[in-house]
């Protein structure tokens, strides 16, 4: 009955911890490994214009990314000295509007966005209405009807219609209809616009979109046109230059429609430049942002919401349960005896500063010298508490001495002794001396070495970077530790060292 309850509880803890863990890992993209990095791009649009020698009012609008399939915006800022700015949604996406009452001379406005790849960021645009048929004059109208008719006979659906159309537009050859519709303009953008007109005539909603390739580093990134066609269910993308279907990887959609990228009241020379720079960042940062964007409560309960100093403390504290679990294992499964139940875990914490070899040497040094003093004090017949206090004072003095002598000899390891838990050392010395007297030196040294061994093992486990990272980013894994501990608490099999103890019983009686 009780055993079954423990199993159920452990399973529940395991599932709750696991569910949280998987959600944070897979859903929010919290990184599993510490060295993992997420690629981000900083895209910057620089808008320059000359307001002239006399102060004039100025109003500038600029399209900024809004719906970006495959990418998400981590962070963005608008740098504009003296300008007030607002952003708003318009038909082509999102626009920033900079305005100032009086300005003169050269002006530079910046928009900077940090973008990361997010496959979950899909096109969630609404289904557009059927486009109004284009009004064309003869003979364009006739050419259009003929072209649409020809292509419709050679295609099955909007996608194949678009492919066929783009192929014809790219290679007009001697097709008079196509040549007439294209007119004298030959750019990719105008070809895309022509395609949209033809598609409208065929009752297929389509629109132009512009975007940049996110490369490693590009000072003069170009805005490229792309064709977006709605096939009745979703938007599909076409390269107007080649007719290839699909949106390329690393293509960031900037704005849609045929409106210009920017407008400026009063006109005049205006120049916009785009630059792209790739960076690597801590994926935790991205995951936190994503959690906020999804309005998930997870980010509110994250370790990363704490002040940095507190984070550092918890980085250490979260490893203590792991040490405790190891102690449970080493005591109840292996059967190693130690002084004090969790004393090795605390000593292991001190090893963080000293590293394990120096830590073991320093620990042994303090304990051996402390024990010598303790044996000497036995003759003084002090009462228990004053005696403990005296040992504590001696321990502190020993630590000071070790640090000073070590420093004189140029051994910096002596300095880190100061982080040893003094009270723990004192209690260890006291208990070791009692065991020494009552059970003999063998038992005392055995338990002393056992404690050191457990401390060293605890340290080695608690110092594994991956585990540190995992427990900090996914504290819910502590529920797993709890589940394992509960199960270990019901372990009623032999301890490893017991096998040695009872070995004689396994052999047939002599």
């Amino acid at each position: 009955m009780k055993a079954y309850k423990v199993w159920v509880l452990a399973l529940a803890l395991f599932l709750v911890g696991g569910a949280l863990f998987v959600y944070k890992w897979q859903g929010l993209g919290y990184p599993l490994l510490p060295e993992e990095e997420t690629r981000i791009w900083t895209v910057e649009a620089t808008l320059k214009f000359d307001a002239g020698p006399a102060p004039v009012p100025a109003k500038v609008t600029l399209y900024v990314p809004a719906l970006t399939p495959g990418f998400a915006i981590l962070d963005e800022n608008f740098v504009s000295r003296g300008f007030g700015f607002t952003t708003r949604y318009v038909s082509g996406g999102r626009q920033v509007q900079w305005a100032v009452r009086r300005i003169k001379g050269e002006q530079t406005l910046y928009y900077r966005a940090t973008i990361y790849k997010d496959p979950l960021q899909a096109e969630n645009d609404s289904t557009p209405p059927f486009p109004a048929p284009p009004r064309l004059r003869e003979p364009d109208s006739l050419a259009m009807q003929q072209l649409v008719g020809q292509i419709q006979s050679q295609s099955a659906d909007p996608a194949s219609f678009t492919v066929e159309l783009l192929k014809r537009l790219a290679n007009p050859g001697t097709d008079q209809n196509v040549l007439m519709l294209l007119g004298s303009q030959a750019g990719t953008t105008s070809r895309a616009l022509t395609a949209i007109t033809v598609l409208a005539a065929a009752q297929i909603p389509a629109r132009l979109l512009r975007g940049v390739y996110l490369t490693d580093r590009e000072r003069q990134a170009r805005m490229l046109p792309w064709l977006e066609v709605h096939d009745g269910e979703r938007w599909i993308y076409f390269d107007p230059a080649t007719g290839a279907q699909g949106l390329p990887e690393n293509f960031l959609v900037w704005w849609r429609g045929s409106e210009p990228l920017y407008t400026r009241d009063g006109g005049g020379d205006t120049e916009v430049q785009f630059s792209v720079q790739r960076n690597e960042v801590d994926p935790v940062l991205v995951a936190e942002r994503r959690a906020v964007a999804w309005q998930s409560r997870i980010a509110d309960f994250s370790m990363f919401s704490l002040p940095i100093q507190t984070q550092a403390v918890y980085g250490i504290l979260l490893m203590i349960p792991l040490g405790a679990l190891l102690v449970v294992f080493l005591r109840n499964i292996v059967g190693i005896k130690t002084f004090g139940t969790f004393m090795p875990v605390l000593v292991a914490l001190a090893f963080r500063e000293t590293q394990v070899v120096a830590g073991v040497i320093l620990f042994s040094l303090v304990v051996v010298l402390g024990l010598l003093f303790r044996f000497f004090m036995e003759h003084l017949r002090l009462l228990l508490v004053p005696r403990l206090a005296a040992v504590l004072i001696i321990v502190v003095l020993l630590m000071v001495l070790i640090s000073i002598v070590g420093h004189q000899l140029g051994l910096d390891m002596g300095l880190s002794v100061g982080l040893f838990p003094m009270v723990i050392l004192t209690m260890t010395i006291e208990r070791m001396s009692i065991v020494w007297e009552e059970r003999g030196p063998t038992e005392a040294i055995q338990q002393g070495l056992g404690s050191l061994l457990v401390a060293a093992l605890c340290f080695s486990v608690m110092d594994i970077e991956v585990l540190k990272h995992l427990f900090f980013v996914f504290p819910e894994l502590l529920l797993w530790l709890l589940a394992i501990t509960l199960l270990l608490g019901r372990y009623s099999g032999y301890r490893l060292l017991e096998l040695l103890r009872f070995k004689t019983l396994a052999d047939p009686a002599p």
Partner: protein, 320 residues
């Protein structure tokens, strides 16, 4: 390694985890622990139930009382000092004689301690050095058992005692513990005493161990250990079995001493009796405990003892 574990398991050897999990946690309610963890309380219970215990000469409960020791032991040649909350025999001093006109004490292992030494030891006991959890404690000063001459040739100084594991009131296994030079006159196995298995049916010693290794002779006296008869064996088992009713604890170790003049006396009870008794008897505990678990509740002492002495618990039947 798993092979060894399987072998031990088929022999019915009880491990610490299994003992704690299946017997101590299940049959020993926590609230009853104080009855046995405090030897003074155990003593009072035993007296009330009519079980003989060593006479209590006095209790030293404060540092001021330490001076009272000579008064308490006046008129007694030998006596024992023990912490009321001690465990595993730690902190016990057995004084065998007064030397230097009574100003100093000779311990059973030959060490001489003067009044100050003894006083310091008492202070340590009172401060809680030997008590579980380091709480303040009291020191009991009591009658020093004159051991039965039948042990004279197989005990090196100190006082031998008999440990009986009593489960649900049934004695399930017993051993004789003989002090050695190494154990400083103490009868605790982990301190180096000899453990000799006892045949539950007859009360005869069978085989013996020191630590984990089997022996046939006492290491200090050279006397053969096997084949010695414990006197008044059925009475001893009856005595041990009564300790179940005494405390209500289901799984206990009962320590009994045989006094030359006063007969068997209850020394102490243990809620976490050690498992070395299995090595001393060359027999696992688990199968015997299983047999007892199948017995009904509310069986009288006499029937329980008779059952334990019957063939059911003997190694020949229990080992397989």
């Amino acid at each position: 390694m798993f092979g060894l574990a399987r072998k031990l398991s088929t022999k019915g050897v009880l491990g610490i985890n299994a003992r704690n999990c299946n017997y101590i946690l299940r049959h020993n309610p926590r609230r009853l622990y104080p009855l046995v963890d405090d030897k003074l309380a155990t003593k009072r219970l035993a007296i009330a139930a009519g079980l003989p215990v060593p006479d209590l000469y006095g209790v030293i409960a404060s540092h001021r009382d330490v001076r009272e020791l000579p008064k308490l032991v006046a008129g007694h040649r030998d006596f024992v000092i023990k912490p009321a909350h001690g465990s595993g025999g730690d902190g016990i001093l057995v004084v065998s004689a007064r030397v230097r006109d009574g100003s100093a004490y000779r311990l059973v292992d030959g060490t001489i301690m003067d009044g100050d030494d003894i006083g310091h030891h008492l202070s340590n006991i009172i401060s809680g050095q030997y008590s579980l959890g380091g709480h303040r404690d009291v020191a009991l000063i009591e009658y020093c058992v004159k051991f039965d001459p039948i042990f004279s040739e197989c005990a090196y100084r100190g006082i031998p005692d008999i440990r009986v594991i009593v489960f649900r009131g049934y004695p399930v296994m017993a051993m004789l513990r003989l002090p050695t030079r190494k154990s400083h006159g103490k009868a605790n196995l982990h301190q180096g005493a000899v453990g000799a298995g006892l045949d539950l049916a007859t009360g005869e010693t069978t085989c013996a161990v020191i630590g984990n290794s089997g022996i046939t002779e006492h290491p200090d006296t050279g006397a053969l250990i096997a084949g010695r008869q414990i006197p008044r064996w059925p009475y001893l088992l009856d005595f041990a079995a009564r300790c179940h009713e005494l405390t209500g604890l289901g799984y206990i170790g009962v320590d009994i001493v045989l006094d030359r003049d006063k007969g068997p006396m209850l020394l102490e009870l243990n809620v976490r009796p050690g498992l070395n008794i299995q090595i001393a008897n060359r027999c696992g505990l688990r199968d015997r405990l299983k047999i007892i678990e199948a017995q009904p509740d509310g069986v009288g002492v006499a029937e329980r003892v008779a059952f334990s002495m019957g063939s059911l618990l003997q190694p020949a039947t229990a080992a397989h």
